[in-house]
């Protein structure tokens, strides 16, 4: 997972803005209406982007984890970048849901982030970053 310092971060050029692209280039998925499940079917234009930024609007708001997982399930293979309130203690969760880069909040220490990303080698759920993250596998006996 690529960690990016805030001052090195250039927000994606927003040339191809559509309803799903906010001013800063971060993708804002419109998931407000439960009965409009079509909102979760990403359009081809979005999936063709080389990079999609998913915002963590505030600490504790975990919707972007599901957004990333759903993008991977839809076959998206580009860079999924975490932006917003991104702190080192959550990088591992992000990586495991399919994020491939993160713009750290200005006060965060990237070296600590790298350590935390390497803290566990294995998990109970199916393996990291793969498209089948959510296959309900449970670990084989060690």
């Amino acid at each position: 997972m690529k960690l990016i310092a805030t001052n090195a971060h250039q927000s994606r050029a927003s040339g191809q803005k559509d309803s799903k692209t906010a001013e800063n280039g971060a993708v804002e998925l419109d998931l407000s209406a439960l009965n409009e499940r079509a909102a979760l079917a990403f359009d081809a234009q979005l999936l063709a982007q080389a990079m999609i930024e998913l915002p963590f609007v505030k600490a504790g708001d975990g919707r972007a984890y599901s957004h990333a997982a759903l993008l991977r399930r839809a076959g998206y293979s580009g860079d999924i970048r975490a932006v917003g309130d991104v702190t080192v203690d959550y990088l591992l969760l992000m990586k495991r849901c399919g994020f491939t880069s993160a713009v750290l909040r200005a006060d965060q220490n990237a070296a600590v982030g790298e350590q935390l990303l390497a803290h566990y080698e294995r998990f109970y759920q199916a393996s990291t970053g793969a498209l089948d993250l959510h296959a309900p596998r449970v670990l084989e006996p060690a």
Partner: protein, 577 residues
């Protein structure tokens, strides 16, 4: 019971190390209190009124004697010599210094214990029937499913920051002993008409300020698909649950507000996951691997069903022993065995509290009398119950007199299971920063008032539940008599409710109790409870009619009248509830 493999053991140790790093960064000032909070919560550390509270996960309430001994050692070394069994089958400490917290996590990890996901906005420790795997009325053993769900939900990356906490309960029996209707997800094992195993899935139950019994979302999910169904439900909640209002963030609010749209959303996501192919289904091989952990050990087989006592009961103990065998034993799936409850409800100690000496005594009892699960004969097995008691699940009938005498010597033989004094209570305002009022003094007064076993047996089965605030940790909503602490002008007041149900056969369909009237003063509450009991005793049609049945037959009015007649300080100026 499930025995940790090398991966499980390593995992909890890594988790303890991760927590130590977080604590140290916090103590060095690199991690603010606000940012440390969700991290410590997901390891079980709350900050309470006096000190941090640690909630230790006891997965689906199954604990070994060795683990109990470690809990006792921690109580002595880091706390004030006791621990507290909770309504979610866990243990809590109330007096550990935060600076010691990482050392405590290491001590727990050494015996496979931890506080992972016992607090915070995540999937909490899964709970089940305390008699799982030994009850004769089981459709299927829920323990392999609990273990599968434990593993699936442990550090699941997508569901670590949900809108709010999320509690899953599993029942495998005809009788619901896990109050599954009060959970965010309640799973009931069922067989369909073809005899295939699956789950009735209830979603959106919960207590708190908006008590709701979970409706059935899907009447039969095949067992192969249960994790997929959980995933679909959790994902829908993670995406659409409210995050703008703490009090409306539980899944019950989403389910209630969206109704059929919620069901459709979950079913659509479930269908999408299923369409991805067989890799997303659980297989016989996986289930067998988990079930193998819960197979009966050789010691269970071949026990003669006839009763040959290994110790005899002296005449002076005969009556008490008889009471104990009537109340505290439960039928067992295996002939010649009983499941035996050790009551943690007695005057002088808070409900569910155990001193370190009692923890060790219970470990001794489990090793002597409930150890057939271990191939070596070492290491007994116990269960922590939803009602804050312990259960020894593997007791030979021949050992019952010896067990009784040993339990009595340890202060663990109160014969009150299911009776009035077997009350549920949260730690309340004595410990909890959230509480509006104290629970424990009310519980203590009632425990002192109702100590006579003959009187308790005459009153019979009744659920009395006490919460110190609307967060409902003491499950007042599900009590036949519920007591709720409320704050009014900085003083302690108590609302009394009647007719709540945990969903058991005795109590009826899961439902919250109804408020009797304006709140009562603290010193009135024991008298109000007594007035309710006396009304029942005076008006029951036979001694076989239980409190909750009399309540249904007579209606609430005579009980309300009796409660209101017990008012003293609140008689003239009733305070609005």
């Amino acid at each position: 019971m499930y025995h940790y493999n090398a991966f499980d053991s390593e995992f909890v140790k890594l988790r303890a190390a991760q927590y130590r790093d977080q604590l140290e960064r916090h103590l060095r000032g690199e991690l603010s209190g606000e940012e440390f909070r969700p991290l410590r919560l997901q390891n079980g550390w709350y900050i309470q009124r006096h000190a941090p509270m640690l909630r230790v996960a006891i997965p689906y309430g199954v604990v070994s004697s060795a683990q109990l001994r470690t809990l006792a050692d921690i109580a002595d070394r880091y706390d004030r010599g006791y621990a507290h069994a909770t309504t979610r089958q866990n243990f809590q400490y109330n007096w550990i210094d935060l600076e010691d917290s990482a050392d405590v996590m290491d001590a727990l990890a050494a015996v496979g214990l931890h506080g992972i996901q016992t607090s915070g906005n995540c999937i909490r420790n899964v709970t089940t029937d305390a008699y799982a795997g030994v009850a004769p009325d089981e459709i299927a053993d829920p323990r392999p499913w609990c273990e599968i769900i434990r593993q699936w939900s442990t550090l699941h990356p997508e569901f670590a920051t949900l809108p709010r906490k999320f509690k899953i309960a599993v029942s495998g029996a005809e009788e619901d002993r896990a109050a599954i209707g009060w959970h965010d997800i309640g799973l009931q094992l069922r067989k369909n008409e073809s005899g295939d195993l699956g789950f009735e899935v209830r979603v959106g139950g919960g207590m708190g300020r908006t008590p709701i019994a979970a409706p059935v979302l899907n009447a039969f999910v095949p067992w192969q698909d249960i994790l997929t169904y959980l995933e679909a439900t959790l994902r829908t909640y993670n995406l659409f649950g409210r995050r703008d209002n703490l009090y409306k963030a539980r899944i019950k609010i989403l389910v209630k507000a969206e109704g059929a749209a919620f069901t459709q959303a979950v079913e659509a996501e479930f269908a999408t996951l299923q369409a991805r192919g067989p890799a997303h289904r659980l297989t016989e091989a996986v289930l067998s691997r988990f079930s193998a952990h819960f197979e009966d050990k050789p010691g269970v087989a071949g026990v003669p069903s006839h009763f040959v006592a290994t110790q005899s009961i002296a005449n002076e103990d005969a009556k008490a022993y008889s009471s104990w065998t009537k109340r505290n034993l439960r039928a067992h799936r295996v002939a010649g065995f009983k499941a035996v409850a050790l009551s943690l409800k007695r005057a002088g100690q808070a409900p569910g509290d155990m001193t370190s000496a009692q923890l060790r005594a219970a470990a001794d009892l489990a090793e002597r009398f409930s150890a057939v699960q271990s191939p070596t004969g070492q290491g007994g097995e116990l269960r922590v119950t939803h009602e804050q008691n312990l259960v020894l699940p593997w007791v030979r009938e021949a050992d019952l007199p010896a067990l009784y005498l040993a339990a009595k010597a340890a202060g663990l033989a109160a014969a009150n299971l299911g009776l009035l004094s077997d009350l549920i209570a949260c730690p309340g305002g004595d410990f909890c920063a959230l509480a509006n009022a104290r629970s424990l003094p009310i519980a203590e007064q009632l425990l002192q008032r109702y100590e006579d076993i003959d009187e308790l047996q005459d009153i019979g089965d009744i659920d009395l539940h006490i919460s110190g605030c609307i967060n409902s940790c003491g499950h007042h909503h599900s009590g036949h008599i519920g007591v709720l602490g409320v704050d009014k002008d900085g003083q302690e007041w108590y609302q009394i409710t009647l007719g709540g149900s945990d969903g058991s056969t005795l109590s009826g369909d899961t439902q919250p109790g109804k408020v009797v009237g304006p709140s009562f003063a603290a010193d009135e509450v024991p008298d109000v409870v007594e007035a309710l009991i006396n009304t029942y005793l005076a008006q029951r049609d036979t001694s076989a009619e239980r409190f909750v049945d009399a309540l249904k037959r007579l209606g609430h009015e005579p009980f309300k009248a009796a409660a209101n007649a017990a008012r003293r300080s609140t008689a003239r100026q009733p305070v609005a509830a």
